[in-house]
């Protein structure tokens, strides 16, 4: 990574980030995020049954088998399956709920209901004792989903950066702020561009995670830079400090990002489909944080550090000038 000298290639990283973020913002404005994971428009087939079936697993399996056979014959693929239990007055009634993404035509609905009802009616073991009712429902999620943003992570990150500014210097805090903001936006942009299916409230959660991870990885750079400052006999110029700091930090950043990615991958790959839908897009946040800490962050910090060095030199010259005048 050192041979690549990423701290010298700010225009390249800025161009990449700008293209992704601008394209993402346009798509966010035009299309929003892909909320398909939420199944905003869906059709449900509900099979309600009473206490007799609740107590008999064979009956439940026979109902499920009948439904699934009819769905298969009618080329319907089930997106989700749930069991519901009535509460209050209807607590002796349970239901199997099959969810299909999008619309199922009225003809298909009628056909499926008729075929399932016939199959269930033919099952005398069931009809002699149990009470089963099947019905179709359509569902359309309202647009209002409680977005959890409210600038929360911005406040969190800014609070942490104030501490960072006190402990590691204002320059480090400014770079941290820039890359945290960048990573949150970058993550949102990639989600919007790649049209990755996410739950409605999830994008802001991924953005928040990206900002937090970015901050955590940036701390590694800050620690290395501080150690370097303590160990060096003479003040280091911006280029040397960033280059040497980067050489000591990039492996730690890469390993930390790798560990987080492994944890997220494990969660996504082993867990069930719903958890996977929630967990795997988090990899984008990990990649964004790794990208900005391995490539963009050091390049930004070089310029920030140079600006602070210049400011500091300017102040010193003024002071020396006054002394010279006094000598004369």
């Amino acid at each position: 990574m050192n041979k690549l000298a990423p701290w010298k290639r700010l225009p390249i990283w800025l161009a990449i980030s700008a293209v992704v973020i601008i394209a993402g913002i346009i798509l966010m404005a035009l299309l929003g995020f892909n909320n398909a994971a939420e199944k905003p428009e869906n059709t449900k087939y509900e099979v309600e049954y009473n206490i007799v079936v609740i107590n008999d697993e064979d009956m439940q399996n026979s109902i499920k088998a009948s439904c699934e056979e009819v769905f298969k014959n009618n080329h319907l693929s089930v997106a989700d399956f749930q069991t519901a239990q009535g509460t209050g007055e209807t607590q002796d009634r349970n239901a199997f709920i099959y969810t299909f993404t999008g619309e199922v035509s009225a003809e298909t609905q009628a056909k499926v209901k008729s075929e399932v009802d016939s199959k269930l009616a033919a099952n005398t073991n069931l009809t002699d004792l149990a009470d089963v009712y099947t019905t179709w429902h359509t569902e359309s999620l309202t647009s209002a989903v409680d977005y959890v943003w409210r600038g929360a992570i911005a406040v969190g990150v800014v609070a942490a950066l104030i501490y960072l500014g006190i402990r590691f210097g204002v320059g480090c805090a400014l770079t941290g702020l820039a890359i945290s903001l960048h990573d949150a936006l970058f993550t949102l942009a990639v989600l919007a561009i790649a049209r990755i299916p996410v739950y409605a409230a999830a994008p802001v959660w991924y953005a928040a995670a990206a900002a937090l991870l970015s901050l955590a990885f940036w701390l590694i750079h800050c620690i290395k830079l501080r150690t370097l400052k303590k160990e060096s006999q003479v003040p280091l110029d911006a280029d040397t400090a960033v280059e040497t700091g980067y050489a000591g930090a990039w492996k730690w950043v890469a390993v930390s990002a790798g560990l987080v990615a492994v944890v997220v991958l494990l969660t996504g790959l082993i867990a069930t489909a719903g958890v996977r839908t929630m967990a795997l897009p988090l990899l984008i946040a990990v990649v964004a944080a790794a990208y900005s800490n391995l490539l963009l962050g050091p390049a930004i910090h070089l310029h920030v550090r140079r600006a602070f060095d210049k400011l500091s030199r300017g102040n010193k010259l003024k002071y020396v000038g006054k002394e010279k005048k006094a000598d004369k």
Partner: protein
């Protein structure tokens, strides 16, 4: 540390960890064959996505249920297909009645409309109904949003009904939040004889009331109603004689009581705070949201009945939680393999710290009312697990580097820790700050993530900087070959 002290500490620490692990993770059936001892993890609330029945009780067929609860709001005059069919089947011996019933109800999608109440043409209700229904959808959505519940959903069901879904067992909100109609305040000895003090005829409730919100202080919940000058005067005038004979103020939405307040002194306040020992966080928020949206929200003339309430398994599937435990198991195993291979028996120091960290987190998620076990909190925990493991590894590596230069083990540990203490301290402080500030500002579920991230970062800091070092000290007291114990080696130098 002397060997005796170490032995005592090690024994106590082992017993503590064993006890914590037992109460946190072990569930078993009691000898009577009926009751079950539930672990803390079993009793920990799970959110709607992972959901299991709260408290860990099982249904009749032995499955864990829970996850979430839903109800359907049907407009007056609209019934479900099931209700229609059931009523019709109940009339099978009376063909005339059946025919009359069929004539009365028109099928609209999967619902049936009472044509005596709602005009239906070509399988569609009239435009006026459609507009009123859309206002009702907006009203219900605004109400559930105002509760700031985790995992709530509001959807249009079968075209002309509203389905609401909440994550936790907050079903008490279902009925009050279905009330529609104008907000009014009545005053009198009982609801039948009470007189309406606001709004007066020809005036709007907005002339009297600005809105309402819930407040909470030290566990006491209240509903605060903000009055305009006119509203304040109206209430003060009505309650002027309350000191002599107490009465009740009825805060109504439509024909339903949203709140009742016993008045035994004159009320003359700009903001009226109503408290009750029976208020919970959710009931106070429900009443406030109901009143506030009745004053400032969308208006509808439709009234609704609440039906089809049901509980659901976790939205992410029945086995979602089980597989997340498997994920944790695999990650835990990988972590311990790394520590045992790299640091041999010193890995026990990390293991003890990690188990304390794990049990502490489980106990906190169980005990803190607003936390649930969810994918978000699980990932926050896993991230801070990585933080703790990396922090322990960093301290061990620093000590290893010192030991390699020829220092004694005690000196290596001391120097190693002192070299990385402030760096680790800063990392933990920064991340905990970010987590806690996120919690203060965000709404669920980012709020839960932020809080648990902050909390477990603090645990990780304490674990890495204090507990691990203590564990290291008590574990090493016995071994004569301290380098081999930790898999630390001296640097080999060639003789000149």
């Amino acid at each position: 540390m002397s060997k005796i002290k170490s032995a005592i500490c090690l024994t106590l620490m082992t017993l503590l960890i064993a006890g914590l692990c037992f109460i946190c993770f072990v569930s078993f059936g009691l000898p009577n064959g009926i009751d079950t001892y539930n672990s803390i993890l079993t009793m920990t609330e799970k959110d709607a996505d992972l959901g299991m029945r709260y408290g860990g009780s099982e249904d009749m067929s032995g499955r864990y249920l829970g996850g979430g609860y839903s109800a359907v709001y049907y407009p007056e005059g609209v019934i479900s297909a099931e209700e229609y069919d059931t009523t019709l089947n109940g009339m099978e011996n009376d063909a005339d009645k059946q025919a009359e019933y069929k004539d009365r109800y028109a099928k609209v999608g999967n619902l049936y409309f009472d044509t005596d109440e709602i005009k239906v043409t070509d399988g569609k209700p009239d435009e006026a109904f459609e507009a009123q229904f859309q206002s009702a959808v907006d009203l219900f959505t605004a109400r559930y949003e105002a509760l700031h519940l985790e995992d709530f959903r509001v959807s249009v069901f079968d075209g002309y009904a509203v389905r609401v879904f909440v994550g936790r067992n907050d079903t008490a909100a279902f009925t009050p939040l279905s009330y529609t109609g104008e907000f009014s305040v009545k005053y009198g000895s009982d609801s039948d004889s009470a007189t309406t003090i606001m709004p007066e005829r020809g005036k709007s409730i907005n002339d009297y009331v600005k809105g309402a919100h819930a407040s909470s202080l030290a566990g006491n919940h209240a509903v605060v109603i903000d009055f305009t000058k006119e509203g304040r005067e109206a209430l003060a005038k009505a309650s002027a004689g309350a000191a002599d004979s107490s009465a009740t103020a009825f805060f109504c939405v439509g024909d339903n009581d949203a709140l009742q307040l016993t008045v035994d002194t004159q009320i003359d306040e700009k903001s009226l705070s109503i408290t009750s020992t029976s208020f919970t966080d959710i009931s106070a928020k429900t009443s406030a949201a109901l009143i506030d949206t009745a004053v400032n929200g969308a208006k509808t003339e439709l009234s609704f009945t609440v039906e089809d309430t049901a509980g659901y398994h976790g939205l992410y599937g029945e086995n979602a939680l089980l597989w997340m435990y498997v994920v944790f198991g695999v990650a835990f195993l990988a972590m311990m393999v790394f520590f045992f291979v790299r640091y041999h028996l010193l890995a026990f120091a990390h293991l003890y710290t990690y188990l304390l960290f794990l049990c502490g987190t489980v106990l906190c998620v169980w005990a803190i009312p607003f936390l649930t076990l969810s994918v978000e909190t699980f990932i926050a925990f896993m991230l801070t697990s990585v933080l703790l493991s990396v922090s322990d590894a960093v301290t061990f590596e620093k000590a290893r580097a010192e030991f390699a230069t020829g220092k004694t083990m005690a000196s290596s540990v001391k120097t190693g820790y002192s070299k990385c203490f402030w760096n680790l301290f800063d990392v933990h402080i920064v991340l905990a700050l970010a987590g806690f500030f996120t919690f203060f500002v965000a709404l669920p579920s980012l709020s839960s993530f932020g809080f648990l991230f902050g909390l477990t970062t603090v645990f990780s800091g304490l674990g890495a900087l204090l507990v691990s070092r203590f564990n290291w000290a008590i574990l090493m007291a016995y071994t004569p070959k301290k380098g081999a114990f930790c898999n630390f080696k001296r640097e080999e130098t060639e003789d000149e």
